[in-house]
Symmetry: C2
Subunit: 318 residues, 2 copies
Amino acid sequence: MANIRDIAKMAGVSVTTVSRVINKHPYVSEEKRHAVLKVMEAVDYQVNRTAVSLSQGKAHLIGVVVPFAKHPFFGLMIEGIAKQAVENHYHFVLIQTNYEESREQEALDMLKHKQIDGLIICSHIMDLTEIEQYQQYGTIVVCENAEGNQKVESVYVDHYQSFIDALAYLYQKGYRKLGYCIGRESGSNSYFRQRAYQDFLRHHPQKKFVFTENYYFEDGQKIVDQITRSKHKPDALLVTSDVVAAGIFTACQNAQIGIPDDIALIGFDNQPIAKMMGITTFEIPIVTMGERLFLHVLGMADEPHEKLSVTLIERKTV
Amino acid sequence: MANIRDIAKMAGVSVTTVSRVINKHPYVSEEKRHAVLKVMEAVDYQVNRTAVSLSQGKAHLIGVVVPFAKHPFFGLMIEGIAKQAVENHYHFVLIQTNYEESREQEALDMLKHKQIDGLIICSHIMDLTEIEQYQQYGTIVVCENAEGNQKVESVYVDHYQSFIDALAYLYQKGYRKLGYCIGRESGSNSYFRQRAYQDFLRHHPQKKFVFTENYYFEDGQKIVDQITRSKHKPDALLVTSDVVAAGIFTACQNAQIGIPDDIALIGFDNQPIAKMMGITTFEIPIVTMGERLFLHVLGMADEPHEKLSVTLIERKTV
DNA sequence: CTGTTAGCGCATTCAC
DNA sequence: GTGAATGCGCTAACAG
């Protein structure tokens, strides 16, 4: 593998000149440029990016932390991230944490070790106050409401308001036994939704219906089983992921439970499956979120914190 | 940021000694080791991995090429890859190609530029003969039958045989109008399945039923619409992805089409959704495949080519 | 057991 | 316009 020095020698110029033509700097005579280009062509010269990185002190790499790559929510987010990565000639290393602290720590350490220039954390289990400490080593962007936080940047949707809106919508439609299904209980986004639910119920008292640990289509069955068995049943459900909503929808059909007559459903995300099954949902611009996250980590955003808006898509499950 | 030289100075030893304690080499006295460790602790020393990479001529990074990260098939594969990456203290950069040649080329170039040490190509559009050329820059592993190929390694399932088996199974069950649904038409795996279908039909003549460009749940509706409209309908369908099979299943339910009475269904992958919906399917060990792919790219596999076996899971759609 | 020294491949002052 | 020299941070002979 020829290096820059070999090229210089073969072209009869200095390494500086070679470096200049590689990086398209001005101040290189056409003749020399051509001579260098010709040699590079001849030996199929390839820059060693690692050397560039060391020399510049930048890895040209971004870290992306997700709990599970197989979940469509994160799949779509990665879609957006990958899109902007390509456009900006950047690459990213994907770190799947499975919500294990040690994996998140590893990602943080990569930042410390200059393996990556910045970090996008789509979801985390470690304390944000802990994560913040690593901001000194590179830009960190999270995917939750971190408004006011000086250390990390954020791109988020207002889950509190969305939940309030969704609950009010159901209430106005006449439903009085509102419940919700969510993934994990912890985490900032879950916290805001839980608070919204509590706040809403304070003004509209009713029994609580909360189903946790629901991530995938198949979890819908679990929820329906649970509801079927229980004496007190909700008459409307906010489901924080369309795929889970689709699972519930399917399970209900199989169990002869009418939607929305027996139970109404509002999903979140507006994934294709929601459209196909006619599920009323709150559209969350996940792909856009991924794109914005990437732009933030590259320092191309105007404000450190950015709120994306959601839209109610009315279909047939309410 | 302190570097190894600073540490050496502060600890009153040479850089070599510091390097040795970092890399846990033997032949370092306990006293010096402690002295070094103490200094490293004090200044919160962190190795610069880029420098290590340059020095060793290895990036400590693997490239992973997928067409779409959001598809559950690749999601599961990434799951397996990530698992082995963690176990072997490696990281990987994810390259989403969208089946665009330029993106695949970019991945190949990264190999050339030593940004990555090896490449896992889960699916590609470029010619394999073209891809092979880059083997000189690092190990390349593909996810298709490349038996006999000296340049790339592979981890695959025998799609030809699986298809033959599936068709024979349906035939033996009495179905005589067999069809199949697949993603893209091109690609090695599609080629083998198509050949299997053709070969089978040669011995069991019937009209052909082939549906292409089916990737996601919502594509199931498309297929059912198509079948509904057409005069000649298949009575059994091989569906190369469980999520699509699930979509077909759902669409059939909505359209009052009986399964398996009006049409039988065999999915592939054995994803959770297939279990939930009781879909008969060929289990493909996707996560294991991802794991094996990673082990291959790290040079930890015995044979360059590895075939994984599939299992028929009988449920209720045949 | 320990240290000196020479790379690894490139970018970047700073003179000329 | 051009090039010599130095540095980025670490590893690995090699010598002691």
